[in-house]
Amino acid sequence: MILPRKSKYYVAAFALLGTLFSLAPLVIQWANYTSPIYAFENSFVVDKFSIILKGLFILITYLTFLLSINFIESDKYYQGEYYYLLLSSLLGALIVSSSRDLLTIFIGIELASTPMFLLSGWKKGDRKSNEGAIKFFLLGVLSASLILYGFSLLYGLSGKLVFSEISSHLLSASLANSPVVLLSAILVISGIGFKISVVPFHSWAPDTYEGAPLPVTAYLSVSSKATGFVALIILLTKVFAGSGSSWGIILVIISGLTMTLGNLVALQQNNPVRLLAYSSISQAGFILAPIAISGITGDYQDGIFASVTYLIIYAFMNLGAFLSVHLFSNYAGSTNFYEWGGVARKSPLAGVLTTVFFFSLAGIPPLGGWFAKFVVFRSLLGSANSIGIALGVVGAINAVIALVYYARISKVIWMDEPKSINEEKIFQFENPLKVVGVFTVLITFVSGIFPGIFSYLGEVSSIFFGN
């Protein structure tokens, strides 16, 4: 607000540099890692799980900033505040991945989501943006109150706030399967279910995604979702670990429903952003599946490994998919992708990127999405449990259905005849966006061709997961 409009560019540059530099402490922590470090009476921890996920969150935010630079400038949104709010949300996500205490994790979740309520309404004059924001806000606050009620029951049962103390109290008093703990688990799952937009709690997602500025949507569908998953993983394995067989069943049902419903609705969409919204709902089902099964089998390490690996690969390919939607809808000036006939011929580079990202989301080898799906299916089928195998079959059917709508976009942009030829219009592909495109496409390819790197990250995060 203080700087004149022209020098607003420095705000973006400063935010970008700051985000990049914040990776340095993570690298140092990783290099000097010996054992989990606890602080504030065990309510905060630095373990490899948190270091890896913090790195992921910081990279996602960095790429979102790159996506935002031109977008925010072109439409005269408020800039300085925009970057501040995104950075606050990043801070919340970083806190969540390290917290081991009911209060810290709650404040982390709120810090991650409060700025997003505001950012989703950032297009002030736009009615869809406003409606999406108020929907997101009311359901977000409702979810916070559900989570809190679950937390208050846990506190009422044990009188403790730190996870390790709660779970040891539940074990020693053999309360792990008491109705109160189950009720609290259900409340926590449904509260976080809003954040990760799984099926009974997904109704806000498509409207909010459609209304919000596109970089914000990309951030919402990747980082906010990842924050929710991290919180869910921490809470389920550190607090409710003893009652896995009960919440496992609930999560299996949610996961199966999420995959199926998200896919079936995505088939009917013609707006690319709504299509990606439903596709990211169905992807959430895939991320949830290994955790659900690990609850039933009790092999949490395997579940965390598969989910974290999927989450990391999904983050980059989904960001890339939003990048390509941004490019083409900007060029074609239409939010109906059936009217994008032949736009890829205008800019083959963007066309190739789009095809790569959408095929990767569909899980076609040798792209990253294929490896992510492979890890999930291995975890489901390897559980040697009839429920796991059934969920695997549901997932396989859904992977095939998903192929239809992911391939449809690629077909339209390459093969369909252009509806309106506008030769003068230049295809805009700014440099920051090119960086995002190249970076995400690189990760998508590397994770598919050399999957070892990413499965290593997932494995390390599941093994070095402090109490």
Binding site: R5, S89, I107, G108, P115
Partner: protein
């Protein structure tokens, strides 16, 4: 201590009736005022439980700030004062009542069975200890919550202010 119990039960009953009024009244202002009473009675309950610091914070923050903001919101959006039938979502009413009723019975059944009915401790003040713990063991969330407030402040101002500001800035 019979008077103490009678007062407590009286407050409990009043609390429930004002809470019901918040969700059933067809007048926005009445809903806000009923919410004031609900919160004030909650604060009385907290006083009866001798958690005086929290009770006072509840009065200051909720009644002093939050409800005033709500009333501002009602005034700014010029919500129709007086009765307004459009506030309710009629088709959801029966479903809502059924779900809320079953939630209530489920919760209270589970809760009453889960916690042995011990007499609650109603003595002992704790404000000093509260301050000490807040700034030692809980200092980290305490710092974090300031970021939540700052984000809400900055974003709130940006979102609610008039857009002419942008044009002015261009001319500078």
């Amino acid at each position: 201590m019979e008077i103490f119990e009678i007062v407590t039960y009286f407050v409990l009953l009043l609390l429930v009736s004002t809470a019901v009024r918040v969700v059933t009244t067809s007048n926005v202002i009445h809903a806000a005022i009923s919410l004031v009473f609900t919160l004030a009675l909650t604060s009385v309950l907290f006083l009866l439980l001798s958690t005086e610091f929290v009770a006072l914070v509840l009065v200051l923050v909720y009644i002093g700030a939050v409800i005033v903001l709500f009333l501002f919101g009602i005034m700014i959006t010029r919500a129709p004062l007086g009765k307004n039938a459009e506030l309710d979502n009629d088709k959801n009413k029966k479903l809502g009542a059924a779900i809320a009723g079953s939630i209530f019975f489920l919760f209270s059944y589970i809760l009453v069975n889960g916690f042995d009915g011990e007499v609650i401790i109603t003595s002992g003040s704790s404000t000093e200890l509260l301050g000490e713990i807040l700034l030692s063991r809980f200092v980290f969330p305490f710092e974090l919550v300031s970021f939540v407030l700052l984000a809400a402040l900055i974003g709130g101002i940006t979102l609610a202010r008039k857009d002419e500001a942008l044009i002015d800035e261009d001319q500078v």
